[in-house]
Symmetry: C2
Subunit: 458 residues, 2 copies
């Protein structure tokens, strides 16, 4: 165990290493200040209250862009603008499910993005139970004709969110598989870890040539109830009403703002989040908090003077429904001089781990960041950083260096894509720890002359 004096000696040594800055960007001083931040909470509070749900392609997302432009201007950022693009838009309709027999009762359900429609009259059919996605995959072709597939899973909370990768495919690909096997519809146990009657929506995708079937997610208590009915060995018949629609190409957009750097020859740092949310909740943790954290950290930098590198804020549109904003940004801005990409899109709980994808020429910067984050209880991980969804396109196009500040995901999938994603789930102290970590990292990288150019891909 380190003694306090050893710890303080380390902090002092670190401060000295950045003492030559023209601005007041001492990383540890900014870190301490950011732990008192109120800007991030104010942004989440404002966006969830004054806009609320903001589904991509809808007028609610347009209101969110107007709100974002006004807020980023008010915070003092430069070059604040909205960049529009078109994208195919799917909207929710009625959604009900009820066991017809043997134990009649309503089940809490929501349609998955891109679900087909049952029509207003609904669909009544026998349900076939698959405890896992592998069981569905193993079902013979044609064995589901006219039936409703029910796919369950055993997703449990994980700090790094990896259980979403392991069990989320029931949603991501289950509907396409069921459709190809002739199912009339599919219902899944929500890809979530809570026990509330709030189903988790989210996109599913059908291959070209596969007609979308009605696809819904049951809340976890309902999925467990349905599984118990099967455990009694009786045939289960369900009535399903899902009437979503595709309403064609609609306008969406990215909101961009900048804190201009003093040396335009140095590549900029792009820090991303997404402004759209699913329609069921008010998108507090997904992803108002990401926009709040990144903007609040950039504001801390701004308040302490001009950094060397430009920091660009990307509040991407239409992430949830296909990362349309991220792709549009990548296409429009490949020619811009980027050095580094980062994103915050995993809630508002504390950052526990930092990872890098850096060239050898920036190894000492990674070391400095690693050391500077230790007072925030953030350790360095062993994997390569991969970046968030909205920066994938620009990273791929421009072969960018990446830093991942990884948030604790233990309770993220209790709330993810549900009506329960609301302001009250934000812990202001953990939110501030995020702002402090981001401020620390931005203070270092935005004032660094290091060469972040990645080696050319093999």
């Amino acid at each position: 165990m380190k003694t306090l004096s050893t710890l303080l000696a380390g902090v002092t040594a670190l401060s000295l290493s950045t003492a030559t800055l023209a601005n007041d960007h001492d990383p540890m001083a900014l870190q301490a200040k950011a732990l008192q931040d109120d800007v991030a909470y104010d942004i989440v509070e404002g966006l969830t209250t004054e806009v609320g749900p903001r589904q991509a392609g809808t007028e609610a997302e347009a209101r969110a862009r107007n709100w974002a432009v006004a807020k980023l201007n008010a915070l003092g950022f430069s070059n604040v603008r909205s960049e529009a693009y078109l994208m195919p838009t799917w909207i929710r309709g009625k959604e009900t499910a009820a066991v017809v027999s043997p134990f009649p009762q309503a089940l809490a359900i929501t349609a998955l993005g891109n679900s087909g429609s049952t029509g207003d009259k609904g669909l009544t059919a026998e349900v076939v139970y698959f405890p896992t996605l592998a069981d569905l995959v193993a079902a013979p072709d044609g064995s589901l004709t006219g039936k409703i597939a029910f796919v369950s899973h055993e997703m449990k909370p994980t700090q790094d969110g990896s259980s979403y990768g392991a069990f989320g495919p029931a949603r991501f690909v289950g509907p396409n598989i069921a459709a190809k096997k002739g199912a009339a519809a599919i219902i899944i146990r929500s890809a979530g870890t809570d026990h509330h009657r709030n189903p988790h929506t989210g996109n599913t995708n059908f291959e070209a040539g596969v007609t979308p079937i009605p696809a819904g997610a049951l809340s976890i208590p309902d999925a467990e109830n349905l599984a118990r009915m099967f455990a009694r060995g009786k045939a289960v018949k369900l009535k399903l009403v899902l009437t979503p629609q595709n309403i064609g190409q609609q306008q969406s957009g990215n909101v961009i703002a900048e804190l201009p750097g003093s040396d335009p020859s140095l590549g900029m740092i792009v820090i991303a989040c997404h402004l759209d949310s699913w329609d069921l909740g008010t998108g507090a943790i997904d992803d108002a908090s990401g926009c709040a954290i990144t903007a609040a950290a950039a504001k801390q930098i701004m308040a302490a003077g001009q950094p060397k590198r430009t920091i660009r804020l990307l509040w991407a549109g239409a992430e949830e429904v296909g990362i349309w904003g991220g792709k549009a940004y990548g296409e429009a801005h490949t020619g811009d001089n980027h050095a580094l990409a980062m994103e915050s899109d995993f809630g508002a709980d504390r950052i526990w781990r930092v990872e890098f994808n850096f060239p050898d020429s920036a190894t000492s910067v990674a070391k400095e960041i690693e050391q500077a984050l230790q007072p925030l209880a953030i350790g360095r991980g062993t994997q390569k950083a991969s970046g968030g969804a909205d920066v994938q396109s620009i990273i791929a196009n421009n072969n960018l260096a990446i830093i991942d500040l990884q948030q604790d995901g233990t309770r993220y999938f209790d709330l993810h894509h549900t009506p329960d994603d609301t302001l009250d789930k934000i812990d202001p102290e953990q939110l501030r720890q995020n702002v402090a970590a981001w401020s620390t990292v931005l203070a270092i990288v935005a004032n660094s002359d290091a060469d972040f150019t990645m080696p050319a891909k093999q």
Copy 2:
């Protein structure tokens, strides 16, 4: 702190005091056995899975009675029967609410029992915010004409549930008060303590001569969101659609079962719960668990031999909507020889306190119970027992002695009357502690010759 040997000495002394029983009803032996009980969980699991929601006066409640009669017969109880009565029945319709201005978004709402209807087209009106019920009471008559009253409160969890008494009146009487002041409708912050988008329903009552207005409860996150809109000082307009209906007199019923005692001259012990539930959840904690606990405890007694006194199980109908089952029981059974009444209707979490309303002639029985419950971490309270809702009528009619085994209510109002009242909320270990406490008490009182006759009321 007692040593283990002192504790064991106490247990031995207590066992000796009941050693003259003809049956095997040693309270401490039964307590130990009941801590292994699986009957209670089986009942809650069965009722929530095979019937689910069972609103009073509907065919779902009738299915629940059939289920209950079959289950109580299967468990070996005697004289199992259903006793029908008629009651006025209200059923839910559509229910939506949306802020029209200044910040358009949907709010999660549910109608309160006995709410009036807005009609299919709904009602759009300005909202007047009352932070507490007292603020509504203080509003001048006529000041609400054409407007929607919004009543909030600060209900927090309490172990004894007393915050429901303190803050529940926003629901119990708020709508009647708003109607008398001319409001077009009322919405309240749910009488609950959770932070999920699941509003809490429950009955409200309008005085004779007051026309019911549409009355709904917002989920707590939605009520907080709406309050934040008011904090911005802007007029708030809401569109409300609530289309419940009164469908007149419908059949409901009580299910009754008995474990006959060996000495019919001794008054019986009636142990109650309610079989109906609100329609939104599956009524696991309210009150499948009460029926499960009381029946499982009576089954423990049955398995150990015939008690002296008859134990009668009352699974009352239509508690939620006006205690119609309890009243029907009181009217039909005033002539029966009752000694004592008890009820379980406060969830499935552990019992922490026991209270009595006993005559002096039964003081030693209370002492024996107090001592026997200590190994279960149950202490004696200082108030007089008052009994549950379903035994109020028979207690009043027959001036009965009462024992209250009080459950921990800390999380009860997270779930009460919401869609979230489902099986997964039951903690099997705490459920068993309930069965153990009830088994202990029944072993003592059902074999006691004590005179439970209460002094005549003043």
